[in-house]
């Protein structure tokens, strides 16, 4: 699948780790990073909503800014995660298409494993869809 990425300046090293990992999993990765972090995040959410890419990964020092900005975009479900179980469950239950991670909180291998769990899990739909419909109604 095609994966969009944005990273702030402080996450440059982590960005390379994630690019290599996503490619190693056999996916294509597109880097939307830029000087304006908020604009870069919005480029990722637009690419996901327009189905130019299937998933997005957002990196900044603590993940919170990326998460807030992405979550506020209409039709987007993003997850701020620092563990593998959340990365998997949020695909399954919330149909999240984007994750935000904090470079200063998570180490390299844990970050890779979170990405693997996120890209490898699918949405189970059914009763969970009413909640996603409600999220989309909010914004």
């Amino acid at each position: 699948m095609k994966v969009a990425l944005s990273a702030d300046k402080a996450s440059e090293g982590r960005k390379q780790v994630i690019i290599d990992h996503v490619k190693g999993l056999g996916h294509e990765i597109v880097d939307y990073s830029g000087d304006d972090i908020v604009a870069a995040i919005v480029r990722v959410t637009n690419a996901v909503r327009d189905e130019e890419v299937a998933r997005g990964i957002l990196l900044d020092s603590f993940g919170s800014l990326s998460y807030m900005v992405a979550a506020k975009q209409s039709g987007i479900v993003c997850a701020q995660v620092s563990d593998e179980h959340s990365a998997k469950m949020t695909r399954d239950h919330n149909n999240s298409t984007i994750i935000a991670m904090g470079t200063e909180v998570i180490g390299d291998t844990l970050a890779r494993e979170i990405v693997s769990a996120f890209l490898g899990a699918e949405y189970s739909g059914g009763r969970h869809q009413i909640r996603v419909d409600m999220l989309n109604k909010l914004a």
Binding site: M68, H93, R127, Q129, I130, R131, L138
Partner: protein, 171 residues
């Protein structure tokens, strides 16, 4: 401090423990539900907490569901909410200092109660550190979700609840 709190039916017991914890510290808690273990839907409670915070009925909000993603995302979709979803104390502290976070999200099936209590303590007690950069970032965030229907009341979800009742959402 006046604190709004909300959860879904997966973690009602954990929310109730958090209410007791906050009240024991002298805080006034607005419990936005859910109140029992009957299956319900996290956006209802995330929106209610968000509304309390952005209308200044409450100073801060705390939201909890299984991973925290669903309820925290629903709160963030309300304009004016700045809600990180955290699993450590440091992220909570930095979100207060740098982003003046007004709601905190935690996963009740991800984070244990002791760590959760310390996260909430730090979230409530850490002051915002105003800088030109932080002010600009917050203005950028607050300008988002301009189409938010977060203050339109519980009724905005009625159409989906009717579909739910008629069996449109089945596993």
């Amino acid at each position: 401090m006046k604190i709004a709190i909300g959860c879904d039916h997966i973690v009602t017991d954990i929310k109730d423990e958090m209410v007791r914890y906050l009240e024991a510290q002298g805080h006034e808690v607005i419990d936005c539900g859910t109140y029992d273990l009957e299956r319900t839907h996290y956006p209802i409670y995330g929106r209610r907490v968000a509304e309390q915070v952005v209308t200044n009925e409450a100073e801060r909000g705390v939201v909890i569901c299984g991973t925290g993603v669903g309820i925290t995302t629903s709160a963030n979709k309300v304009q004016g909410v700045r809600a990180p979803l955290v699993r450590d104390v440091t992220t909570a502290r930095m979100a207060r200092e740098q982003l003046d976070a007004n709601v905190i999200g935690i996963g009740g099936r991800i984070t244990g109660l002791g760590l959760m209590q310390e996260i909430v303590d730090v979230f409530l007690n850490t002051p915002f550190v105003e800088t030109d950069e932080s002010k600009q970032l917050i203005a950028s965030v607050d300008a988002l979700a301009s189409t938010s229907r977060g203050l339109d009341g519980d009724e905005i979800f009625d159409e989906f609840l009717e579909k739910w009742e008629t069996g449109c959402y089945v596993d």
